[in-house]
């Protein structure tokens, strides 16, 4: 097998967080050797203490992950937050919900965040103001992690939902390390049905297991589509499954088969609905805008299962204490 850029091939690499990081025989000649040997980008104890202080009222952090881009992590994060904030009520409760994202910090929609690894995780100079975020629930976008955890005035929050970029990278390691000291309920992993997504999502599951991040379960998004015209016909004559299109076909059994094989929970399947994208674009809550949609029922049931998991987790912890 060909040599990859000096240093270990992926399977020989001890991993940047292991005790062997930078010190294993395979690490010789690896461009990351010094960086890994110096220790992971772990929070210094003072910084970790600061983060803990900021988030002391937080009951639960839920990470929304995927190996694959564009499967609906942000969409799901937003709806999960709205669903939890509404506490089961049909209407969307704005004052319960706070959001922090690098998007708020860019002065123009054309601004690109083009930083290399180390600066992203500890950009001390860039954003040092404390930003007040009202609300009991918050969504965090995974940039400038240390800043966002330490310098945002989160206040009293029950849940911190962390929306992440796709993949398994420095940012993901950092968030797990910073929140590792806190109460992470676990990760929700989003996928679409086709193998092209699943092949990346299996990597994400393997990442979670490597860093001991509990997996709450998997959501299969964009799972089937019934066009609105057919839906109207369907309500009169046919059953829904007859005119369904699988735009992203589950050629290898979809999330269901993958969950069985990897022994993780399938939280639910969400079908495509053109109103989802529209709501996202206009900043509305899809759950409130389209209460009749099949996608809304799926989302609600998934959110409930997540809430039950978190409650159970919390109870178990209290027992131990």
């Amino acid at each position: 097998m060909a040599e990859a850029a000096g240093g270990p091939l992926p399977e020989e690499c001890p991993g940047p967080r292991s005790a062997q990081a930078g010190r294993a025989a395979a690490c010789q000649g690896c461009p990351n050797q010094r960086l890994c040997a110096a220790g992971p980008a772990a929070p210094a104890s003072a910084e970790a203490a600061e983060v803990r202080e900021r988030l002391r009222a937080m009951r639960r952090a839920v990470l929304v992950l995927s190996g694959k881009g564009g499967v609906g992590k942000s969409t799901f994060s937003a709806l999960l937050a709205r669903g939890l904030a509404a506490g089961g009520a049909a209407q969307y409760v704005e004052e319960n919900l706070g959001v922090m994202s690098v998007g708020f910090l860019l002065s123009s929609p054309d601004d690109a965040v083009i930083w290399r690894g180390p600066k992203k995780n500890g950009a001390e100079q860039a954003f040092s103001t404390t930003i007040y975020v009202p609300g009991r629930l918050s969504i965090l976008s995974l940039w400038l992690i240390k800043q966002f955890l330490r310098d945002v005035d989160w206040g009293e929050i029950d849940y911190l939902i962390v929306d992440t970029p796709p993949g398994t990278s420095d940012e993901h390691l950092a968030i797990v390390q910073y929140l590792g000291a806190m109460r992470i309920a676990g990760a929700v992993i989003v996928t679409t049905p086709q193998e092209v997504s699943l092949q990346d999502v299996r990597k994400e599951i393997s990442f979670c297991r490597k860093v001991k991040l509990p997996i709450i379960g998997v959501v299969e998004n964009m799972s089937g589509f019934v066009c609105p015209k057919c839906q109207n016909c369907n309500t009169l004559i046919f059953t829904l499954s007859q005119n369904e299109s699988q735009i992203f076909p589950p050629t290898t059994g979809g999330a269901e088969k993958m969950c069985q094989n990897l022994n993780v929970s399938l939280l639910g399947k969400v079908p495509l609905d053109p109103r989802i994208g529209k709501s996202c674009d206009s900043g509305q809550s899809f759950l409130a805008e389209a209460p009749d949609s099949a996608a809304t029922s799926s989302y609600r049931s998934i959110i409930q299962r997540i809430q039950e998991y978190c409650d159970q987790h919390h109870l178990q912890e209290e027992k131990i204490i």
Partner: protein, 266 residues
């Protein structure tokens, strides 16, 4: 020492600010279309976390070997008209996550750019991961001496995607990379049962952005289950499904790339 890229006529990058919009799909279909026009094409897949290209050609189980000039790219068939390089070929266990820090990723990209023995190619298509990160900067810097033809930016129609692609345009401007144009992917779906068209991911955002930014608009590609299926199974969509709904748009994109390349050559 003759550089491994000396025999490559035109380099095209496929970028997007947003994940999951179809960069690998467009890279694959562009390669297949160019092949059908008689061109020799290589694809360099620099997405280290989510390498999708090998599976799209049904060669995900292949190994890579070395020769005197470096790594031998994987040919997709006897024809040898399409060759690939991806970290997907280096992973023994495909379910293993690649959790490397920046410097090693950058070193691997430099190696992929410099040490693959491509031979003579009409086109080298570079498929990238989403975003504007280490990998993108390394890729553009490593390719700069070879004067890429330019970049195709892929978006889906809705605002959340277009918003990220605006930032990608800034990245191109800052790094001096020419924008060949914008593709609006997943633009509309025609229901096979009743022929009604639904704009599942909205419509028009990519075209509007191209107009606003003053870059060419390469076209709208509709959602096409036959295309998704072909990619899943590693089939040649261009060869096997010329009547399918996405075909005309994909062929048109390839034609515009050919036109741009003949201008570069002259």
């Amino acid at each position: 020492d003759r550089s491994n890229l000396a025999g490559v006529q035109h380099i095209v990058l496929v970028l997007s600010g947003k994940g999951g919009v179809g960069k690998s799909t467009i890279s694959t279909e562009l390669a297949l279309s160019l092949r059908h026009s008689g061109k020799k094409v290589g694809i360099l897949d620099v997405d280290l976390c989510g390498p999708s290209i090998p599976r799209m050609f049904r060669v995900q189980d292949n190994d890579v070997h070395q020769c005197d000039s470096g790594w031998v790219p994987v040919f997709v068939d006897q024809d040898k008209s399409i060759s690939l390089m991806s970290i997907g070929f280096l992973l023994e266990k495909p379910d293993d996550a690649v959790v490397w820090r920046g410097p090693k990723k950058n070193a691997l990209i430099k190696q992929f750019v410099a040490d693959v023995a491509w031979g003579d190619l009409d086109f080298l298509i570079v498929d990238t991961p989403p975003g504007t990160s280490d990998e993108h900067i390394s890729t553009v810097e490593a390719l700069r001496p070879y004067k890429p033809l330019g970049a195709i930016l892929v978006t889906t129609p809705q605002a959340v995607s277009v918003g990220d692609v605006r930032r990608e345009l800034t990245f191109c401007k800052k790094t001096g990379l020419r924008v060949l144009g914008i593709v609006e992917n997943m633009s509309g779906f025609v229901c096979p049962h009743c022929s009604e068209c639904t704009n599942i991911f909205s419509k028009g955002g990519g075209e509007e952005l191209a107009k606003h930014a003053g870059v060419p608009f390469l076209g709208c590609v509709p959602l096409d289950p036959q295309l998704s299926q072909s990619l899943e199974e590693g089939r040649d969509f261009i060869q096997e499904f010329p009547k399918s709904s996405a075909f005309p748009a994909l062929a048109h994109i390839a034609q515009q790339v050919l036109d741009a390349s003949s201008q570069q050559s002259s």
